[in-house]
């Protein structure tokens, strides 16, 4: 065994890995080798100032990642061998996984591609190494998530064609276009968007309280991939913060550019997280914390501490943060109401919450739920009970930027939509908010090309003019199996069979409970 003081210390080892395996080019110009480094206007005067926060060398990286994988797959095996899907709280929970597999896992793959690309673009070796490691991490996340959920695919509907759906299904254009927007930007904007605004500021909201919720609903496979992915995330978040500090310290001209990116990507990320809010408040049968509570801890408290730290660089908290903070009491309900009424065009089931779940929502959202949402939900439940399950048969207006239907409401009047519209070069454009409208105005050429699913259907580009053909032929959603209400679905029947009940018995006992 080596004597301890003979070993290189962490800082030295990392120095050898990053700086001393890099070199100054002699017969090619640096600008030609790294052609994307300057066009965004970011000025880097000295790459040697880059501080590597996690000084992870390649050998240590492989060692720890291998250990994580071994632990992870031991749990996947145990989960499958013991029919772990039978021990979840309720089969309604699986619908969150369907959304995750088609909405989030493909983003992990997109992140892998994004980091592999920008990892080639920086002339600083430290940034290149960090991006390359992150690219490998993201590929691992995409793969382990698919492995974990493949077990559920054997027992439940809607998980059979996630990658195909990600490219086509109307609401999945929301996460897809988010990442396409980031990946088609320059390398510094990509890192500000994904490493900083998304990973550092916002992903905790997905991977920490939601995954803790998965554990609370008996899903050991998901909580394990979630936390295993998130253990890499600790490194990624640190990279995100380092990137921002480094860019800001390099040149004062960088500050306004970075501020605009933070404003844009905070807002885009916040909109994307509406989906996660709904997963937490409506799709976890056993509740851990409400979306509003998670937002308070992970954005208001942790994000607040972060932006206070960045004040010294001249960076302020993101524009429209006040609107986002206020919206924590609305977005999950607005998103669930949207999916409920378009539940004939989703790869997962929707439903109205049961009475005790409505009571929980009333308690967690005392200022908004009873006033704006509970009457709507009780009306729908009553309609359904009388044989008229509500579906909206007209396609929705979509926001030109975030591509979410324009469902969001005004901060000062939650009974009114915060719709905005402008004309640009003779065309009309519509937005869900000032936040998205500003993003458009800053880069109109980028968003005039948006592939908006509703407009594509109307242009006849989705294999049919009626919703049924689009859903089955173009989306590959199996009608009557994957979509419609959870109540009466094949998933529900299978679940009741697992639990040794028939659906009639369940209805009987529900009647007795009610009486």
């Amino acid at each position: 065994m080596a004597v301890k003081n003979k070993k290189l210390n962490l800082k030295d080892k990392y120095q050898y890995l990053t700086r001393d395996m890099s070199w100054e080019p002699t017969y090619q110009k640096k600008e030609d080798i790294y052609p994307d480094e300057r066009f965004e206007g970011i000025k880097i005067t000295d790459w040697s100032q880059w501080e590597d926060p996690f000084r992870l060398t390649m050998d240590a990286y492989w060692k720890y990642q291998a250990e994580k994988e071994k632990k992870l797959y031991a749990i996947f095996d145990a989960f499958a061998q013991n029919n772990g899907h039978q021990n979840i709280s309720d089969a309604r929970y699986v619908n969150a996984l369907k959304l995750f597999l088609s909405g989030v896992s493909p983003l992990e793959h997109a992140a892998y591609q994004g980091y592999a690309k920008v990892g080639r673009q920086f002339s600083g070796a430290g940034a290149r190494v960090a991006c390359q490691m992150q690219a490998i991490d993201e590929l691992r996340h995409s793969q382990t998530q698919q492995h974990a959920m493949s077990h559920y695919n054997k027992h439940f509907n809607g998980l059979h064609d996630a990658a195909h759906m990600h490219d086509r299904v109307w609401f999945l254009s929301v996460p897809k276009s988010f990442f396409d927007d980031a990946r088609s930007a320059g390398p510094f904007e990509f890192l500000t968007a994904i490493s900083f605004s998304f990973e550092y500021v916002l992903t905790n909201l997905l991977f920490v309280p939601f995954m803790s919720g998965a554990a609370y609903n008996g899903d050991m496979a998901t909580v394990t991939f979630g936390f295993s992915a998130q253990s890499d995330e600790a490194r990624h978040m640190t990279l995100g913060l380092e990137v921002i500090k480094f860019i800001l310290e390099q040149h004062e001209d960088n500050v306004p550019i970075v501020q605009q990116w933070i404003d844009k990507w905070f807002w885009r990320g916040f909109r994307l997280l509406s989906l996660v809010g709904m997963m937490m408040d409506y799709m976890l049968p056993n509740k851990v914390m409400s979306w509003a509570e998670a937002w308070e801890v992970y954005y208001e408290q942790n994000g607040g501490a972060l932006f206070k730290d960045l004040e010294r660089y001249g960076i302020r908290p993101p524009k429209y943060q006040d609107i986002a903070n206020d919206a924590k009491n609305h977005v999950s309900h607005q998103a669930w109401a949207t999916f409920y009424q378009y539940g004939h065009a989703t790869n997962f089931h929707t439903w109205m919450p049961e009475k005790e779940e409505l009571d929980w929502l009333s308690e967690k959202y005392p200022d908004t739920f009873d006033k704006y949402y509970r009457p709507r939900f009780e009306h729908w439940a009553k309609e359904h009970a009388e044989g008229r399950r509500f579906y909206n048969n007209t396609l929705p207006q979509l926001c030109q930027v975030c591509q979410i239907p324009t469902i969001f409401t005004e901060k000062d009047d939650p009974s009114m939509l915060s719709h905005r519209q402008i004309e640009h070069e003779g065309e009309r454009y519509h937005f869900c908010s000032d936040g998205c409208c500003d993003i458009f105005k800053n880069e109109p050429e980028k968003y005039v090309q948006a592939w908006l699913p509703v407009h594509q259907i109307y242009q006849g580009n989705c294999e049919g003019g009626d919703v049924e053909t689009v859903v089955s032929k173009y989306y590959h959603i199996n009608i009557g199996e994957d979509n419609f209400d959870y109540v009466g679905s094949p998933d529900q029947k299978r679940w009741l069979a697992i639990k040794g009940k028939s659906s009639e018995e369940k209805t009987e006992s529900a009647k007795q409970d009610a009486a």
Binding site: R376, T394, Q397, P405, I407, E427, H430, E443, Q449, Q459
Partner: protein
């Protein structure tokens, strides 16, 4: 403002009217009826009359709402792209000034949604 790019960054808008094969998009927002989560996106013929639009397009779309039976849409307050608008049931959409991707807002002040919740 414009996109910072490595080349001349210029693209055609994807939703120009000529891509809709003679039809056009028309959005309609009925405030205080958020049971319909967002404004509707309709595909309509520009030479359809406003009256036909109300009867054949709008009414079927809102049929499921408990307020719909009581709504007098033609007597309601209308806006076209945020400006006051007086509908003429016999005029076509085109001659009413309703162009591609326009948004109509129809306000029915006496109707406040399910149990008055603006739903």
């Amino acid at each position: 403002m414009s996109v910072n790019a490595l080349y001349d960054y210029k693209f055609e808008p994807r939703d120009k009217v000529e891509n809709f094969h003679g039809m056009q998009l028309l959005y309609l927002y009925w405030p205080r009826h958020l049971m319909y989560c967002s404004p509707f996106a309709f595909l309509v013929q520009p030479d359809m009359t406003f009256g036909a639009f109300i009867e054949e397009v709008l009414k079927p779309a809102v049929e499921a709402h408990p307020d719909s039976a009581r709504a007098r849409f033609l007597d309601a307050q209308w806006q076209l792209n945020g400006e006051p608008f007086t509908p003429d049931p016999s005029a076509t959409l085109k001659s009413s000034g309703i162009d591609h991707k326009s948004m109509l807002t129809v306000i029915t002040p006496e109707l406040n949604g399910i149990a008055g919740s603006a739903s």
